[in-house]
Symmetry: C2
Subunit: 263 residues, 2 copies
C-alpha cells in the first residue's frame, strides 16, 4: 500500500490566517495535509524557541476555509516549536514537504532573518525535510484578504511542490519564495538575497504611566537597487522570487581574512 | 580630538549575567563601553523582534562587577531589539565593534540559528558594525559561575577585538566564537559550522489542570564527528572556535538545481 505524500504546513500568522488556509487548499489534492501552526500571531519570531515555559497544542476541527481531510493543530509556541512538536509528537510519518505561509508581508532580503515564516522553514531544513517558505509582498496598509494570491499563482505553487517532492532539494537548502501582488502569474525568478537595511526603526510613544515606549517600525532600504539578480528586483518586475537558502551560514570566502586576524 | 573606540555589548542572558560582565571587563581598557542588554533571560530568542507590543529601556547604575565608566542600559525586548534601540536611540556615535555574550552554553553548529546571542550579532552585521558573538561550551548542568572563562582566554579575546577594530571584517560577515571550558588558552581555530541535528526534543509533563505540556530539551547529534574542520571538532580538541558567518543565506551552489525545478 502506497501512502500519499505528507505535507506539514505552518506559518507565523497563526492557524486562522487567510494565507495558511489558501496554502492548504492549494496542495490538498496532492498530499495528506497536517497543519500545525501557532494559535495566534507570531510575526518576527525568527528561529526563536520556547525554553523558559512549556508549550502545549490541541487538535481543532478544521474550519470552513480549510479543505476537508486536513488535520489541524494549534500550538502555544513559536513557528519553530510547531515544527519540532509536529516532528516528534504529531505527524504519523516523516513528511515529504514542509510549507510555511503564505505570510502576510514579504520576507525578502534580510527580512528572512526576522521571519517566523522562514524560521519554521529553517527548522524543517535542519530536520532534512524539503522546506519552502511563501510570503506575499504587500505594501504597508495592504491586507492579504484584499490582495489574495491569484489562482494561477497558486497553481504554479502546487506544481513546484510536486517537483520538490519528486526531485528533492540540495542538502541543507530550503526555498524562500516571495510573491508579488498580481492578477496573473508572470513566472518564477531564481535569485539571490538582496543586500538591504532597515532604517528609522522606532516610533516613540508615552504609555499611560508616562514611561517612554518604543514601537518597532522602519523603512527598508535596498542597498543595490540597480542589480537585476536579487529577490527585490524580481518582485519589482512582477515575478515571483525564489531564493535558494542555506542553513550553513559559514562565510567560506572570509576564512583567509579571519585566519590573518588571529595569527 | 580623537575619540576612543566605542564598543556596544549585549547578550541574551540579561545584563546581570556573569558572562556579559566578564566581557565588559575584558575590553574596558581599549574602548568606551555601552552595555544595552535585555532586562532578563532571552535564551533562544534568535533574531526575534518585538512588534506586537512596545519596548522600553532604562539606564542603570553599573554594578560592582562592571568596570567603572560603563554606561549600562536594560531593555524589555529581545537581543535584536537591544541593538536596534542602541543604534537609533542610545549610542552617542557609530560603534566600532559589537560584542554579544559571553553566553552561558555554546552556540556552535546549527544552534547559531536559535541563539539570541547570535541574533544580536546578525543585527549588528546587518547595520555594518563589525560584530562578534561569544559563547561558552558548557556541559549540561555546568554553570558559568563555576567554569568562568580563563584570564588568558579573555586576554586573547581583547587582542582579537583590537584586531577587528583595526582591520574590520569582510562585508556581511560576523564572527561566531565558542570557547571551551579550560584553564589555559590553547589557541583559535577558524572553522566551519558543523552539520548537526537536535533530536528527542520534548519532555512531557502534565500541568496542574491536567493539560499535557511539552518542555523543550533535546540531544545534539553531530552529523560529521569525523571531520576536523568544524566548530565542534575545534571545541572537542580544546581550541576556541571561530566561524566566520554570513548574513547572506543565499545557497549559490543550489541555483542550477532550483532553476531546473522551475523550468
Amino acid at each position: 500500500m502506497c501512502n500519499k505524500p505528507l505535507i506539514l504546513i505552518t506559518n507565523d500568522d497563526g492557524y486562522a490566517a487567510a494565507g495558511i488556509k489558501a496554502l492548504a487548499r492549494t496542495v490538498a489534492d496532492i498530499a495528506d495535509i497536517y497543519v500545525v501552526a501557532p494559535d495566534g500571531a507570531r510575526s518576527g519570531a525568527a528561529c526563536a524557541i520556547t525554553s523558559s515555559v512549556p508549550v502545549s497544542y490541541r487538535e481543532l476541527k478544521a474550519q470552513n476555509d480549510y479543505p476537508s481531510g486536513v488535520r489541524l493543530f494549534a500550538c502555544s509556541g513559536t513557528p519553530v516549536d510547531c515544527v519540532k512538536l509536529a516532528w516528534d509528537n504529531i505527524l504519523p510519518r516523516r513528511p515529504d514537504l514542509l510549507l510555511s505561509g503564505i505570510n502576510h508581508g514579504d520576507n525578502a532580503s534580510i527580512s528572512a532573518h526576522y521571519s517566523g515564516t522562514m524560521g519554521a522553514v529553517f527548522e524543517g531544513c535542519m530536520k532534512g525535510i524539503p522546506s519552502i517558505g511563501l510570503s506575499l509582498y504587500l505594501q504597508r496598509g495592504q491586507r492579504y484578504e484584499d490582495y489574495p494570491v491569484s489562482d494561477d499563482t497558486l497553481a504554479a505553487i502546487a506544481r513546484l511542490c510536486e517537483q520538490v517532492i519528486t526531485e528533492g532539494l540540495p542538502i541543507d537548502t530550503c526555498l524562500n519564495i516571495n510573491l508579488p501582488v498580481s492578477d496573473v502569474f508572470k513566472g518564477w525568478r531564481v535569485c539571490r538575497q538582496a543586500r538591504g537595511r532597515w532604517e528609522a526603526e522606532w516610533a516613540t510613544a508615552s504609555n499611560p504611566h508616562g514611561v517612554k515606549a518604543y514601537w518597532l517600525t522602519g523603512v527598508f532600504n535596498d542597498l543595490e537597487p540597480q542589480s537585476d539578480d536579487t529577490d527585490f528586483a524580481a518582485l519589482r518586475a512582477g515575478f515571483a522570487s525564489i531564493v535558494p537558502t542555506t542553513i550553513d551560514m559559514t562565510a567560506y570566502g572570509a576564512m583567509e581574512h579571519v585566519n590573518k586576524l588571529t595569527s
